[in-house]
């Protein structure tokens, strides 16, 4: 829990992951050999990297089942779209409010649940919350456009007009790198350790005078912020925001990304998002195959590789080992 890692391991950790700084640098070259469609898929991967990283904070690090992730994603997307459509805000100004709206939703969903039996009520309230929001999108026609949704106007980011996939790619990459690095730092701070400690044993954590309720709410808010920002990018990337994008079909994709990548691993969430983003496109023609595939994928991983792909990678590359995970 709060035991100190051996000095050797810590040094190894820092050295082993410094390689990651090369990833975004190499990614800068992607537009050179990508056609517009593959570039779109790569952009979508960037959006889902934020989605998975944000979801992992609650699902993996806090160890709390939550269903609100699509709701937070939707709030971010709708907030950005509504600010741009109704208030005429530029895109860059709408990103932070989208994140704040997501954080506020995370706050609301978790604060009510703390009054009941925590484990279950957090999950149940987030489930109800997500469906409630989707109902609001459909019935709040004036603001949300109802089932037709909202068309997002052309976006620009500090003077750069985002009218091509390539332009969007560079802006998205910048935002994603900054946020992933921020989350990475946060996870290695006191806050991150407290969140993981609550996962491992809430009672023991509370007995160390760590206010567990406050950290649970904080984790939900942080998760909401990251996923809300992802929502604003999603809105600009697709050019429209409709209620169906944020339903239960989307939710299984989010679950799969975090679990396949590896619960609790930041690297894993990035990996899971990159690996799974392109898949749903293949199932478009066959009703039901999408749910069967992702349901089956989750079952297989839970039975065979519950620590996800990141644990497999860590075998080959010990620097990736999850320092905060202890085998039970």
């Amino acid at each position: 829990m709060n035991r100190q890692p051996e000095p050797g391991a810590a040094a190894h950790w820092a050295g082993g992951t410094r390689v990651f700084y090369a990833v975004p640098l190499l990614a800068l070259a992607i537009p050179l050999f990508a056609n517009p469609y593959t570039q779109f898929v790569v952009n979508l991967m960037l959006v889902y990297v934020l989605v998975a990283v944000g979801f992992n904070l609650v699902l993996g690090n806090l160890g709390q089942l939550a269903f609100a992730n699509t709701a937070l994603f939707g709030i971010g997307a709708y907030t950005a779209a509504m600010l741009m459509v109704h208030a005429g805000w530029p895109f860059w100004a709408a990103i932070i409010p989208a994140g704040i709206a997501g954080a506020a939703a995370g706050f609301l969903a978790s604060v009510t649940a703390l009054r009941g039996i925590r484990n279950y009520y957090l999950a149940i309230v987030t489930l109800a919350f997500g469906e409630l929001l989707r109902w609001t999108y459909i019935h709040g026609e004036v603001a949300t456009g109802g089932t037709d949704g909202l068309a997002v106007p052309r976006a620009d980011f500090l003077g750069i007009v985002l009218d091509s996939e390539t332009a969007r790619f560079y802006v998205f990459l910048l935002i994603v790198v900054v946020m992933v690095k921020a989350i990475s730092n946060l996870l290695q701070s006191k806050v991150g350790r407290a969140i993981v400690a609550i996962r491992d044993n809430e009672l023991a954590t509370a007995s160390l005078a760590i206010p567990t309720g406050r950290y649970i709410v904080l984790a939900f808010m942080l998760s909401g912020f990251v996923v809300g920002v992802a929502g604003s990018l999603f809105a600009v990337l697709l050019g429209q925001v409709v209620p169906e994008s944020f339903g239960l079909i989307e939710l299984i994709l989010h679950f799969a990304m975090v679990l396949v990548g590896g619960l609790g691993s930041l690297f894993g969430s990035v990996l899971g998002a990159v690996a799974l983003t392109a898949l749903p496109e293949f199932f478009r023609g066959f009703p039901g195959l999408y749910e069967m595939f992702f349901g089956g994928l989750l079952i297989v991983f839970l039975l065979i590789q519950p620590r996800g792909l990141s644990a497999l990678c860590a075998k080959a590359w010990p620097g990736l080992r999850d320092r905060y995970f202890r085998d039970r």
């Binding site: 009941g116 039901g288 069967m292 079952i299 039975l303």
Partner: protein, 290 residues
């Protein structure tokens, strides 16, 4: 009169919610796993009945019994084949497993069913009973009868027989029950089967009343949770009472305020209960000390 007519249809709906909530509660009490895929088992019950009636041409009562039996086996298989294997892992694993199974079932249903919303042929064709100004539909009568009999059977078994006492013992302490020679592992499997079968009865009863679609499970899951929350999480009698009250609340809100609100009554119930009385109507407060 309008009030009573709404109450009647509310109780009929509520009886089905009660059954679903009870079936979720049985699994939770017996195994401490909250089955987040339970709604899809309810859907599967309705779906199998539909297939047997429409495609295989079997009479409704036979199909219903077959569907419930099949779901018992499915529930047992899920516990023994999937949940039991990851028992040693963290709790979040069971929850994710339940979700995954739910999605898998929904996908299979969608694959067979296609994208259409299908009406089940009418089953009970006898005329409604008229009491003064009240019209009691045949469907409501069948629901009251079936749910009433099942509830009496279940609670009779649970509180009055030695098999029921074994169940209560395992619910109280797994380790203690294992020490006095109860086979806890088999018990868990059987209780999953019972939960799935009870849920399937709910699905079979709802099948002739509404349009069927693979997404049915999600709304049942939330309604079951709302009923459990209202009655007190984990209380068997509370789940039944909560289901009936939820059915009534939905109809009255729909009748007097707006029909749009019927869909979200369950969510509002969950949030209101947590804000005002987190232990539910019949739940006991669990003191949590640090």
């Amino acid at each position: 009169m309008f009030f009573l007519q709404l109450a009647l249809s509310g109780l009929a709906q509520g009886a089905i919610y009660a059954l679903v909530a009870l079936s979720m509660c049985v699994v939770y009490r017996a195994t401490t796993v909250v089955n987040f895929g339970h709604g899809d088992l309810v859907m599967a019950g309705a779906f199998v009945t539909y297939l047997l009636v429409v495609l295989a041409g079997l009479p409704f009562p036979v199909s219903a019994v077959l569907a419930v039996a099949l779901l018992f086996v499915l529930g047992l298989a899920i516990e023994v084949g999937l949940i039991e294997r990851i028992k040693a892992g963290p709790h979040i694993g069971f929850a994710l497993m339940c979700i995954a199974v739910g999605y898998l079932l929904r996908g299979i249903a969608r694959g067979v069913w296609g994208r259409e919303v299908l009406p089940m042929p009418r089953v009970f064709d006898f005329p409604p009973v008229i009491l003064g100004d009240l019209v009691v539909t045949a469907d409501a009568l069948v629901i009251f009868f079936v749910v009433g009999v099942l509830l009496m059977l279940f609670f009779g078994l649970f509180y009055r027989t030695s098999a029921g006492r074994i169940m209560q013992a395992v619910c109280q302490s797994e380790r203690g029950a294992a020490l006095v020679g109860i086979n806890v592992r088999t018990f868990h499997g059987v209780m999953w089967g019972v939960g799935a079968a009870l849920g399937a009865v709910g699905g079979v009863l709802i099948a002739p009343l509404t349009l069927l679609h693979p997404g049915l499970g999600a709304s049942f899951l939330i309604k079951g949770f709302a009923a459990m929350t209202l009655g007190g999480f984990g209380s068997l009698g509370g789940a039944v009472a909560g289901g009936l009250l939820l059915g009534l609340a939905e109809q009255w809100i729909g009748g007097y305020v707006s029909t749009k609100l019927i869909d979200i009554a369950a969510y509002l119930v969950i949030i209101l209960v947590l804000a005002l009385r987190p232990q539910g109507l019949f739940g006991r407060t669990v003191a949590e000390r640090v």
